[in-house]
């Protein structure tokens, strides 16, 4: 046994002093551990990465179940509460009586001094928050017709993050926006993964002129400043296209630029791996090229690719947000974080309706979470380098 084993055994919680069977068992677990087990043991030591993964888990949950989690449809308007500020959630009423979770009703008054409509809590009206209650009907994933929501307000409304200029619930819109923004990221990453793997694979495997051509193409794409390129591509999209078509085009535009990093990585790995002793050994053993690629090369750089994808993900989200924010990406009625942030484009909006800025927090948190996870994965990517 070599010195490099030590940190690993420690990782496993291998106790030298835990005599007998248990120690032997722990040792054997370690000896028969697969690559992904080793990676997981290394990854879980990275506390922040674990925090990041939990946050991402929550986001993914939101992405999948946003119809159920949101109390309202993103388009439904509450004409009684326009530009409404976030309602405070209470447990006790003014008399100190326990009421369960509730929000107060809203009173709309015209303030003569400031010449503005002011909305204040109406302390006499209580809207109780009910969980797993009936509300607006919707189609879950566009298939299942239901009206069950995680929570709704009894006899009234609840807007946790306030409402926008049309009285739409910001909270619900953010949840729907999460689905759009994350799915753009996922699909975009998937497309750039395919392009990157293909181009990098061709480049690294065949080499020669083809390699030269692809590498120059990558350089060409990389030297163009990202934002103007995005903008010109996005601006080229016809205005009359349906929002859903725009959605897919934006995804493709984003992945069209981000595949280069991955292609480079795949190519580099392929080239360095061709020279590895164990690949040479496999060739001498009579393995076909296909077998070498699938059995020896792919598992070796799969982990690196996953890391790259994780690191690339936030750029996708940021890209979408940026494009939509400046009005060239997604458009209403599609809801995404970027589209939502469009509403808070000027200082006045932020000053008067600061809650419209809440989607930014989601962007920041998600990007941060991805970066943390990517960090932890990078450390764990090669469990054999010790």
């Amino acid at each position: 046994m070599k010195w490099f084993h030590l940190p690993f055994l420690a990782l496993l919680g291998f106790r030298k002093r835990a005599e007998g069977k248990q120690a032997k068992l722990a040792e054997e677990t370690y000896y028969t551990a697969t690559q992904f087990q080793l990676m997981w043991w290394k990854f879980r030591r990275h506390r922040l990465a674990i925090v990041g993964s939990i946050i991402l888990g929550i986001f993914v949950f939101i992405m999948i179940f946003c119809e159920f989690l949101a109390p309202y449809d993103p388009q439904s308007r509450n004409s009684d509460y326009i530009f409404g500020s976030p309602q405070k959630v209470h447990l006790f009423d003014d008399q100190g009586k326990f009421q369960g979770l509730f929000v107060y009703g809203v009173e709309t008054v015209f303030d003569r001094e400031s010449m503005q409509i002011v909305q204040t809590e109406d302390r006499d009206v209580i809207y109780k928050i009910r969980f797993f209650s009936r509300g607006e009907p919707y189609k879950m994933w566009g298939i299942i017709r239901t009206d069950l929501h995680l929570f709704t307000a009894e006899n009234g409304f609840v807007h946790l993050f306030g409402t926008d200029n049309l009285g739409r619930d910001v909270f619900s819109r953010i949840l729907y926006g999460t689905r759009t923004s994350l799915s753009i990221g996922l699909i975009g990453i998937f497309i750039s993964f395919i392009i990157g793997l293909l181009m990098g694979g061709i480049s690294g495997y065949f080499g020669g002129a083809l390699d030269n051509l692809i590498q120059r193409l990558i350089e060409f794409i990389n030297v163009i400043p990202t934002l103007p390129l995005w903008m010109s591509l996005a601006a080229a999209l016809p205005k009359e296209w349906s929002p859903i078509r725009v959605y897919f085009m934006v995804t493709i535009i984003l992945s069209f630029i981000s595949w280069t990093t991955l292609a480079r990585r795949v190519r580099g790995k392929l080239i360095s791996m061709r020279e590895e002793d164990f690949v040479f050994a496999a060739r001498i053993a009579g393995s076909s090229d296909l077998r070498i690629i699938i059995r020896h090369m792919l598992p070796a750089f799969l982990s690196y690719i996953i890391v790259d994808l994780t690191v690339e993900f936030p750029y996708m989200i940021l890209g979408e947000t940026t494009l939509s924010f400046i009005g060239l990406g997604l458009r209403e009625p599609v809801v995404s974080w970027g589209v939502l942030l469009q509403a808070s484009q000027n200082v006045k909006a932020i000053e008067q309706h600061p809650w419209l800025f809440i989607p930014a927090a989601f962007v920041i948190v998600s990007v941060l979470a991805f970066s943390l996870v990517g960090d932890g994965m990078r450390d764990a990517a090669d469990p054999y380098s010790q």
Binding site: F8, T34, A282, A285, A300
Partner: protein, 339 residues
């Protein structure tokens, strides 16, 4: 007598140049002359040693013998028993795939030569599966047999390489090379990464396997005492050329090439009473991109004369079984190993 023995491998004028790009924009194409016109034979059942310093081309030669690289020129002809002589350099992919069953390789680095993502069982089974030599239960059967023969514990087959020390890993590498029951194995520095006590175990194992299965080895090494221990004949390489080849004892005690002489004088003998008196080679090993004219060794040779820079010495058999490439091999009185 060696010449009466039957030839297994016949190497003829083997060359391997690796292209390198130099200069601005990589426009000047040059070549690393890793192996530059090498010819020799390997007899059935013997161990032929190949020694030389780093960059001498011994590893490339070993790999070329299994067509691990495509050669620039030359042929490697195998005379397998019960088969016609065949040149592996002109083989089709399909023929080459068939041929893999007869010749295998053991690597220097027991760490990088085993895929860390495969279990020991899968590593040993790979040649069987890849060449379709066995299927199903038969694979397991043969893996277990071979592993046992290499003194690997059967319970350890489901482990991954990271569970093993260098010596045990090298046993796995040997088992992988052995599982097809080949005729010929190229051993590329199989013990140089191992501790002394483990090195002896592996050398013994290699010797036992050779006797048991009638194997032929090409044994590449830089440790001359290991080579002397295990090889019947030894070839010395310098800068892509074979400079001398002879029976082990003959080479060690009666070298005919000045470079062999220098090598022999540099062996540190494990005896404080025998102080070594190394012959100092002036200068450094030249780059294989621009090797010296004539005899590649001439800039560092203390016996060099003008002809050495002008013409490349012929590779000739000076005494029976003793080959050398030196203009003055007949006249020089060289010192062998003193121990």
């Amino acid at each position: 007598m060696l010449s009466e023995q039957r030839i297994l491998v016949e190497v003829k004028n083997l060359r391997k140049f690796f292209p390198v790009r130099r200069g601005t924009f990589g426009l000047t194409k040059k070549f690393v002359r890793a192996v530059d016109d090498v010819s020799f034979v390997i007899y059935r059942g013997e161990t032929l040693g190949l020694v030389g310093e780093s960059g001498s081309g011994k590893t490339t030669t070993g790999r070329l013998l299994l067509r691990g690289y495509e050669p620039t020129a030359g042929s490697v002809i195998y005379h397998l028993p019960d088969a016609e002589a065949m040149d592996i350099m002109t083989m089709t992919k399909r023929q080459l795939w068939e041929f893999r069953k007869h010749a295998q390789m053991i690597f220097q680095d027991p760490y990088s030569s085993l895929n860390p993502r495969m279990t020991v069982r899968d590593i040993i089974a790979e040649p069987l599966i890849a060449t379709k030599s066995a299927r199903g239960e038969d694979v397991s059967q043969r893996v277990i047999e071979t592993a046992k023969r290499c003194q690997l514990s059967i319970e350890h087959l489901r482990r991954y390489p990271h569970a093993f020390s260098g010596g045990q890993r090298q046993r796995i590498g040997i088992a992988r090379a052995l599982v097809l029951q080949p005729q010929f194995i190229v051993c590329d520095e199989p013990v140089s990464a191992l501790d002394v006590s483990i090195q002896a175990q592996i050398l013994n194992l290699l010797k036992d396997l050779q006797t048991e299965f009638g194997l032929t080895y090409l044994f590449i090494a830089h440790d001359l005492s290991v080579v002397e221990h295990i090889c019947n004949r030894v070839g010395v390489m310098y800068l892509g050329n074979l400079v001398e080849m002879a029976a082990t004892e003959e080479l060690f005690y009666h070298p005919l090439h000045p470079y062999t002489e220098a090598l022999m004088s540099s062996i540190p003998e494990a005896d404080p009473k025998v102080k070594m008196q190394p012959i100092k080679l002036s200068g450094e090993i030249p780059s294989p991109i621009d090797p010296p004219s004539g005899c590649a060794f001439h800039p560092r040779c203390q016996y060099a004369q003008s002809i050495c820079a002008e013409s490349k010495p012929e590779w000739r058999e000076l005494a029976p079984g003793h080959f050398v490439a030196c203009h003055f091999a007949e006249s020089l009185q060289l010192r062998g190993f003193v121990g």
